[in-house]
Symmetry: C2
């Protein structure tokens, strides 16, 4: 109550009483910057630069880099520094396939789990997705909606580890896993239909069907993306 709500419009040098540690916020902001393409795959990440950018010393920056290294988001070679990880086409495809396998497992577990009324918000999001069939909606928005739905479905399976792992894997291959594939009205229609079938499979506890549909949803998008790339 007597807590004065210090607003965070100031720079990050603001000394918050909160228990946030520098290394964590640095890692988080660095991830955002990479997602925002301010740093691109292959770009070098000099410790001093990052330290000045985030208003801390090199210690927390090094910790943040180590965290992101373990998530395969940055590459560190001893005595030569860090850089944003850049995946070959083969590795990117592999990452998407891993994501598909993990998501398929998640959908199996969701179908097997208890999920009383938890499917209602998912259905609401599906209706939002259905509205995006028209190509006037940018592919990125469509893609984001699918990610939202997938995460909501994963949530009802209560598989924390799986969710974070999937998030990490997707972070590494945004180029292919991203909205690249959703430029075709055909694919969007198929995708919308399969999402509906997936939700139904989860609701009616058909684990095998749910697993298959989840995998197909990912691999369809991958195939489409590969058709755009080369």
């Amino acid at each position: 109550m007597a807590n004065s709500p210090n607003i965070a419009e100031d720079t990050m040098r603001e000394r918050r009483v909160g228990r946030r540690v520098s290394a964590e916020t640095v890692a988080e902001q660095l991830v955002q910057a990479i997602k925002r393409r301010e740093f691109r795959p292959g770009d070098r990440l000099r410790e001093q630069d990052l330290a000045e950018r985030f208003g801390v010393s090199r210690g927390p920056v090094r910790e943040a880099l180590r965290m992101l290294q373990s998530k395969s988001l940055v590459r560190i070679v001893p005595m030569r520094g860090a850089s944003v990880a850049s995946l070959s086409d083969r590795e990117a495809v592999e990452a998407v396939e891993i994501g598909a396998a993990l998501f398929a497992l998640g959908m199996r577990k969701a179908a097997e789990a208890e999920h009383e009324c938890a499917l209602e918000p998912v259905k609401a999001q599906w209706r939002a997705l259905e509205e995006m069939a028209d190509l006037s909606v940018p592919p990125k928005a469509f893609y984001r909606q699918t990610v939202l739905m997938g995460d909501a479905l994963l949530h009802i399976a209560t598989t924390q580890r799986l969710r974070t792992l999937l998030l990490d894997v997707r972070l590494g291959a945004p180029a292919i896993h991203g909205p690249l594939g959703f430029t075709s009205a055909e694919l969007r229609k198929t995708s919308i239909r399969k999402w509906a079938e997936l939700i139904d499979a989860v609701e009616t506890r058909q684990a095998d069907t749910a697993e298959r549909l989840a995998r197909e949803l990912h691999l369809d998008a991958l195939e489409a993306a590969l058709g755009v790339l080369p």
Copy 2:
């Protein structure tokens, strides 16, 4: 003979050209110590203790802890320190299922990959496994041999990311994923047979069969382990 591996008081000095960075060796040794059960799930990891143990200062120790945190091997809560991650039964099962899904994907890719004569060493290791059907061989040895075979099979699929990811996931749940299940002669026979079938499926490019067998091999062992635990 020439080298006694116990005392390491001078190793940090100038044993070799400093190509290795402290944080990496600390992380590696800490992982070994955790695998060796010198630190057990839930045990606290004080930075100063680890620093003295490994002969470095707290900086590299903190970096190592961050690396292991991102791999879900240690848990760090701000201002309260690090501890070895301890999984609930549910989380451990989840980890094994994730491992099964990843390995199944790897076997699919192995079956689809080009693999001229690369299967010969795998077959040699299978013959070694076959010799271990007798229960006089400790379960741990049998388990280790299966891990070796699995890794060799993954190798021919050239899926680096998948291998490291699988390794990380397995590190987190050694209690269940370990040799717990292989105390039954029945299970060993089934396992040996399915490994042979798996190798054959990879050799004859039957991706679906390889994927199914890989999953079954993991889930059979999980089921057996769950039968021992409660």
